[in-house]
């Protein structure tokens, strides 16, 4: 009797939801939306709020009063240098990633087939998903003074090239793992798959017809590439650049492990909230990448990159 009633009322509920499909959609959407809204956006808001508090310099305690003083502390020459350094690094990493990624994506989309195609895809997916730390660690091994690069350079009697490179102002250093070159290489390596996949996806969508039509209309392969293939691949490249740029902008681990220990936004935020305990300034600092990425996303959206995500 009881089970019959409950089965019946369950059926009623199913009928109700069928008739009111809007309510069903809402019911489905609500849990994930609440989660993201409360856990993620709520936290972001909490962070933003903190940036309008200030730190009492004598007691080291946070003053819970609304003020812009923390933002005034943000725009010091030192901090602006940090922001500039990070943005330049992110831009350089993005551009080089795009250059390295394109031939791989192009080959995979245009020439690889069957088993090779699967292999290419996996060859990109594996490093994408494999452990971030493991990959960083691998570069620590490679770039170490006693490591493989030095060894290869010595074997090829090219030690002087390496030394020359390290002697360069700004980007050089005592060894590769203590220079901007090292940091840069690791960034490119770690984020490269994020660039390859959307680029390849965009290239896959270039119909063979387009290429044949272009050739039929008299374009040389080079012209076809620059007037048909590349413009169609561009949204994919921009989609990839969202990741490479954003991830470089906020990373705080790679510069700690490989590099000349000059601060980036990430490492600064990490130090501020940790050892310094200056949460308001840390919060104000994180607003910088949020704003930069906000602008970046708006531009990317205009250029149609969201369809390529």
């Amino acid at each position: 009797m009881n089970t019959a009633t409950s089965a019946h009322s369950r059926g009623r509920l199913a009928d109700f939801l069928y008739r009111n499909s809007g309510i069903l959609t809402l019911a489905l959407l609500l849990p994930p939306l609440l989660w993201i809204g409360i856990v993620y956006l709520g936290s972001l808001f909490a962070l933003l709020l903190q940036s309008f508090y200030s730190l009492d310099e004598f007691s080291g305690l946070i003053v819970h009063e609304f003020t812009f003083s923390t933002y005034r502390r943000l725009f010091t020459p030192t901090n602006l240098t940090i922001i500039l350094r990070t943005v330049v690094m992110a831009a350089a990493v993005t551009i080089v990633s795009a250059i390295v990624a394109f031939p791989i994506a192009y080959y995979a989309a245009r020439y690889a087939r069957g088993g090779w195609k699967a292999l290419f895809y996996l060859a990109v997916m594996m490093p994408l998903w494999s452990s971030y730390l493991v990959k960083v660690y691998a570069w620590k091994l490679i770039l170490a003074k006693e490591g493989i690069i030095t060894w290869i350079a010595d074997k090829l009697h090219l030690g002087w090239v390496l030394d020359g490179l390290l002697a360069l102002p700004v980007i050089g250093g005592s060894s590769l793992s203590f220079s901007y070159i090292g940091t840069f290489l690791v960034f490119v390596y770690i984020w490269l798959p994020y660039m390859i996949l959307p680029t390849q996806a965009a290239l896959e969508r270039v119909a063979k017809n387009f290429i044949e039509a272009s050739a039929d209309l008299g374009a040389t392969p080079r012209q076809t590439f620059s007037t048909v293939i590349f413009p169609l691949a561009l949204p994919g490249i921009i989609a990839g650049s969202i990741f490479t740029f954003s991830l470089t902008l906020g990373d705080y681990i790679i510069p700690q492990i490989v590099g000349n220990s000059r601060p980036f936004i990430g490492t600064t935020v990490y130090a501020l909230q940790g050892t310094a305990g200056d949460i308001p300034l840390a919060a104000a600092f994180t607003v910088v990448p949020v704003i930069i990425m906000g602008i970046y996303l708006i531009v990317a959206r205009r250029m149609g990159a969201f369809n390529a995500l």
Partner: protein, 270 residues
């Protein structure tokens, strides 16, 4: 887009060079797990030994706690992400409504914005609400960025599920829940499994957000980070790195085959 003519040599070399760049460093991890040199990263290794594997197993109990914690966190985060990501995909694939794109962007945001932002945001939220650090504070963060992984996989499959299939089921007498169980779930199942596996892999080796949400707890990636900054026995780190590669490699491989399989069976509706 597919070409009948073979690729030019420079293109081939650039493509292969790029792939080698992606993979050789991982091979090096493997090599260094067997080196006899424990203080530096000398290349080539002066000698090879299996000693470090037994060291990990017998002499370093400090690895097991973090490993267990990571497995626990990844499992819980995956389960939460599985439910929420599937619901989101189901809702957004069903209907066209105003603001759909913005909601979609909202789910992508946790991986599109730098992880440090998620991390420090969560930490300050925990501070404000005086939430003590626990397994759940880690899970909370992980689930947030894992949702999008499940969501993406599920959404792709939902879109391939033709609308008339669901109508056909209802036409044959099945109500919503029955249709979900007999028609929708079997067809999105492999995509959900694939999404879960990727989510697990993502959570298992996440470190950037975790540093902020773990407090004094140590997950396996945090253990590795400590070893990287203050190494004790370097080859032991390599052995653990190999374990991490293995634990993430298998689910990724499985996920790949699951979604590929799906493409064969999923497109037969017509």
């Amino acid at each position: 887009m597919h070409s009948e003519t073979p690729a030019s040599l420079p293109l081939k070399m650039a493509a292969i060079g790029g792939l080698l760049f992606l993979h050789l460093p991982l091979a090096l991890i493997f090599l260094y797990a067997f080196t006899t040199e424990e203080k530096s990263f000398q290349f080539p290794p002066p000698g090879l030994t299996l000693r470090w594997f037994s060291v990990v197993w017998f002499e370093r109990p400090d690895i097991w706690g973090p490993l267990w914690l990571s497995v626990k966190v990844a499992t819980l985060a995956t389960l939460i992400a599985l439910v929420l990501g599937t619901l989101a995909a189901a809702a957004l694939s069903r209907a066209k409504f105003f603001g759909k794109d913005s909601i979609s962007l909202l789910f992508i945001l946790p991986i599109a914005l730098p992880g440090i932002i998620t991390g420090i945001s969560l930490r300050s939220a925990f501070d404000i609400m005086s939430v003590p650090f626990s397994t759940w504070t880690i899970v909370l963060g992980h689930a947030t960025f894992c949702i999008v992984v499940v969501y993406n996989n599920a959404l792709a499959r939902f879109r391939r599920l033709s609308g008339s299939m669901i109508e056909a089921s209802m036409d044959l007498g099945a109500n919503g829940p029955q249709t979900f169980r007999h028609v929708i779930l079997p067809q999105i199942g492999s995509a959900l499994l694939a999404g879960s596996m990727l989510a697990f892999a993502l959570s298992f080796d996440e470190v950037i957000v975790t540093t902020f949400t773990a407090g004094q707890q140590t997950t396996l990636p945090i253990w590795m980070l400590n070893e990287l900054i203050r190494p004790r026995q370097r080859p032991v780190t390599n052995v653990v790195a190999l374990i991490v590669i293995a634990v993430t490699f298998l689910p990724i491989l499985a996920a790949y085959y699951l979604t590929r399989e799906g493409e064969h069976t999923g497109g037969t509706g017509k």
